[in-house]
Amino acid sequence: MKRSFLTVILTGLLVGLLGGCAANDGAQAKSDTIRIGLAAPISGTQAQYGQAFKNGAELAAAQINEAGGIGGKQVEIVVQDDKGDSNEAVNVANKFVSDKSILAVVGHFNSSATLATAPVYNKNKIVEISPSSSAPGVTDAGEYTFRVITTDAFQADYLAGWSKELGYSKVALIYEQSDFGLGLLDVYQKSAPANNIEVVAAEAYNPGDKDFSTILTKIKDKQPEAIFIGGFYNEAALISQQAKKLNLSVDFIGVDSLYSEALLELGGESVEGFKLIGFFYPGGDNEEATKFAADYEAAYGSQPDTYAAYSYVATSVVIEAIKEKGADRESIKTYLETLKDYKGATGVLSFDENGDVETIPSKLTVQGGKFELYK
């Protein structure tokens, strides 16, 4: 009795599987659509970002489809889950490249997944354009690998230039003990002398630390004019609060990683006056960003985050390429290589010979509990 029940269940599952396959293959046979792959962590610990990716890309496709598609053909986003795991990402990459109807791939989320899949995409000559992999080595992986986010190094260098404009001559660094934090520290220290800035202190913390009073007391003696927090918003909020308690009155500066609503929620009053750089700033002078935010809210009923914006931009660039050069894997690559001054929601983009994006971030500051453009 038990056994027959089991057989029924297993057979049911198996039939379901095969049936699904058949249905799937049927859908792929349609040739009147333009298919773009999207590889994102739909399940797993990074699922929130995967969802943002998916929303952003699908919005870009929906907009072009409403306008009549590309040459009468509808654009379809084919979503595959890479779980944020490089093992799984390679499976996804192989699936994409072996499907001839996929013209380009938007993804992956993690730098490690992008690096792991780069050989597969490059060997099969298909463009992968990552919305979010910011590790320095990513675009060295091959000529078919692009990204619409700048490297961590670029941001630190840009911040050094801005520090000079703000008139700082003594800056202290508090950085996260990770490749991200170390990378920021390294570049900022190198760029500082050229901008007449003296780095008076560099103190590390571990992700998840709660008490920064020792670090701050040490820094207080050095009397810096500003503190650069090379880490994420949780710690930045705590650092600014504890600095207030120690009567340490300095400016705080940071990069894109601090640019989150969570910084305002966690930090409250103490993060007033924070100066940081960000790429996706709706409501400012970037009309594309404002328009994207409004469209996104109309479609999904929530505010887009940075990753949704990056994914939207990456997908739009690919759509633009197909519009200009036709539905062909190779011509998408040639288009991207020569792309100059594309106006997107995350700023004006151009790609350098490496496939890295060149763009100018927005200078932001916290005023009255909101991010405002710095003037």
Partner: protein, 307 residues
């Protein structure tokens, strides 16, 4: 059949070739874990660590010392086996849940070392550019070559582990699994055999790791997480512990099912979980569980005598 399979698959596409290669890798991993769990009865939860150690050793040897793949592969296996031995030495006194926790911790420590020892492993950025194997100046480039290589490695693993567990050593391992005190009373030293199981398990996981590194040409810590250990464990349990064909079957199912279920996107992992739970309720010995031996040293086992 396995030899002509790629010719058929290649007609379909590279994706299926890749999936078959992944099945090969996970077959080796589940067979090697089966030695520890199925035969020696040691509930170890950190198998991805050995896989990772194998992958990183091979990658570092090939990148920094320009060692050929054919030397890096056994070297990585030996290193992973050595770590199996090292892990085995202190934890051998622990049993059951406690052993599970310690091995789990070991897996995490290894992963954290991969993440934080930036000078050597490049941390979360991973190690790109691992060369492919070459034979007499011919470099592996297609999936076909890798398929035959993993087929050979999987068959080798199957053969060696099969010989080990069907020898006197295997019988001793089974005795220890069933009753450690009894084993000691008849002169089997449990520590020696448990250490052997850990070493053999680590060794073959190292082979799988080295192959993976060379096949993908990139390693990063996120391929060797706790979840991957659990996945390998699930293959062993689903296929049937103490059964090598079972391990292979488990690998086939657990690599293939998530891929076939891709069309369900959000629900696939849930469905897979459900299938495993149902499986455990209705057939706890796995799909291809251990057949109790019909013969012992003295001939046929009478009914009721075999467990």
């Amino acid at each position: 059949m396995l030899i002509v399979l790629p010719l058929v698959l290649q007609q379909v596409n590279d994706y299926w070739m890749h999936i078959v290669i992944m099945i090969g890798i996970f077959s080796i991993l589940s067979m090697s874990l089966n030695v520890i769990i199925g035969y020696a009865g040691q509930f170890a939860l950190g198998h991805a660590a050995f896989y990772g150690i194998g992958a990183y050793s091979a990658a570092l040897l090939m990148i920094h010392f320009q060692v050929s793949f054919w030397i890096a592969l056994p070297a990585a296996a030996v290193i992973a086996g050595f770590f199996g031995f090292l892990l085995g030495t202190p934890v051998i006194r622990l049993r059951g849940d406690y052993l599970g926790i310690v091995t789990l911790g070991f897996g995490e420590i290894v992963r954290l070392i991969f993440v934080n020892w930036v000078d050597v492993t490049r941390g979360p950025m991973g190690l790109p550019g691992i060369p492919a194997p070459t034979v007499f100046g011919y470099t592996f480039s297609g999936k076909m070559e890798f398929y035959y290589l993993i087929l050979a490695l999987a068959l080798l693993t199957f053969f060696v582990i099969h010989r080990i567990v069907h020898s006197g050593v295997g019988l001793s391992l089974l005795t220890i699994r069933e009753d450690e005190t009894l084993a000691q009373s008849v002169g089997i030293r449990p520590n020696k055999y448990k250490l052997l199981a850990f070493t053999v398990g680590g060794f073959f996981a190292g082979i799988a790791g080295a192959f993976w590194a060379s096949y993908i040409s990139f390693v990063s810590p996120d391929a060797f997480r706790y979840l991957d250990s659990v996945n390998i464990l699930a293959m062993v349990i689903l296929g049937g512990s103490a059964s090598l064909p079972g391990s292979v079957l488990g690998a086939v199912i657990l690599v293939l099912a998530p891929e076939l279920l891709r069309y369900m996107s959000d629900y696939r992992m849930m469905l897979l979980g459900l299938a495993i739970v149902l499986m455990m309720i209705f057939k706890p010995t796995g799909f291809w569980g251990e057949k109790h031996r019909k013969y012992n040293f003295y001939g046929m086992v009478r009914k009721g005598e075999g467990k």
